[in-house]
Amino acid sequence: MRMAHREAKIRAALRTVDGERVRWLLGKKGSLTTTGNVFGEIVSEQRYDVVVQKAASIELERNMLLQEMETGPRTIHELHETTNIPKTELVKHIIALKRWRLVEQVGMKGQSPQYVAVPRK
C-alpha cells in the first residue's frame, strides 16, 4: 500500500513537471523578477520562490487526485483515504478542478457526491 502510494506520488510529480502551470511559472522567472508582469509589477525573488513552491505543491496534490479519479468515481472520503490529503483541502481542489472541467460529478454514494476525471483529449 505504501509502495503504491509512493508510486502514485511519483507519477503525479512527473505530471506536475510536465504541467502547464509550473512550466509557465518557471519560464517567466526572468521577466517577472526583472521587468515585471503586464502591469509592471515586479515580483521579488523570495516572493517568486514562495509562489512556485505553492503552485508545485498544489499541482502535485491535484494530479494525485486526478490519477485516483481516472480509475473510477470517488467520493471525498475515498479520496482522503487513498491520498491522505485533508478533507478541507480536498474540497478546495475539487471545486477548482470542476471549474476547469477536469472532473465532473457522476452520481451519489449514499449522501456523498462521486467525482470522476474527465478524459484528457
Binding site: R6, A13, V22, L26, A56, S57, L60
Partner: protein, 154 residues
C-alpha cells in the same frame, strides 16, 4: 562466542551506527563534466568513493523521472553536472536543466527530502579539481543530512 569475537561484534555494531556511507548518484554530461571527472581520476585526486557516475549526452537528458526514481530506489543524494552556461554542446541544454532542477528541488520537498540532496553544478572538461571539490562538498552535505527518508532517515 570468544571475548575477542564479542568485542569485534560490538565494535562493528558501533561503527555501523556511527559511519554513514551515503549513496550518491552523479549524472555527468558527456562533453564537459564526464571529461572533468575523468581528469580528476587520471590526476589521482582523492575523493570519497560514495558516488556512482552515469554518463549522459547532455545534462538536459536527465529526465525528472531519473531523479525521482533514484531517490525512490535509495539514493541519498543526486548530483547533476553539466557544461558551464553558454558552453553547452547542444547550445542551450544546460539552461533547461537549470530550470528543471529548480523545480525538482521544490518537488522533492513534497516527498520529505531536503532540497540540498539534489545539486546542480557546472564542471568543464578542464576542471578536475572542481569536480573533486564538488564531490567532497556534496558528500559532506549529504552526510550531515543523514540517510534518505526512504532508507529510514528523517
Amino acid at each position: 562466542m570468544s571475548t575477542e569475537a564479542a568485542h569485534h561484534g560490538s565494535s562493528a555494531a558501533v561503527e555501523g551506527e556511527k559511519a554513514f556511507d551515503p549513496k550518491l548518484l552523479v549524472f555527468c554530461c558527456n562533453w564537459c563534466s564526464y571529461a572533468g571527472a575523468d581528469l580528476a581520476g587520471v590526476s589521482r585526486l582523492q575523493m570519497p568513493p560514495n558516488f556512482r557516475v552515469i554518463r549522459v549526452m547532455c545534462s538536459a537528458r536527465v529526465d525528472p523521472e531519473f531523479v525521482l526514481r533514484a531517490f525512490e530506489r535509495g539514493a541519498d543524494g543526486v548530483l547533476v553536472a553539466g557544461c558551464h552556461p553558454a558552453d553547452c554542446h547542444y547550445i542551450g541544454g544546460n539552461y533547461r536543466t537549470r530550470r528543471r532542477i529548480a523545480l525538482l528541488k521544490m518537488l522533492i520537498q513534497q516527498f520529505g527530502f531536503d532540497p540540498d540532496r539534489l545539486k546542480l553544478e557546472w564542471v568543464s572538461a578542464g576542471e578536475g579539481e572542481k569536480f573533486q571539490k564538488t564531490i567532497i562538498e556534496f558528500t559532506n552535505t549529504v552526510k550531515e543530512l543523514g540517510p534518505s527518508p526512504y532508507r529510514g532517515g528523517v
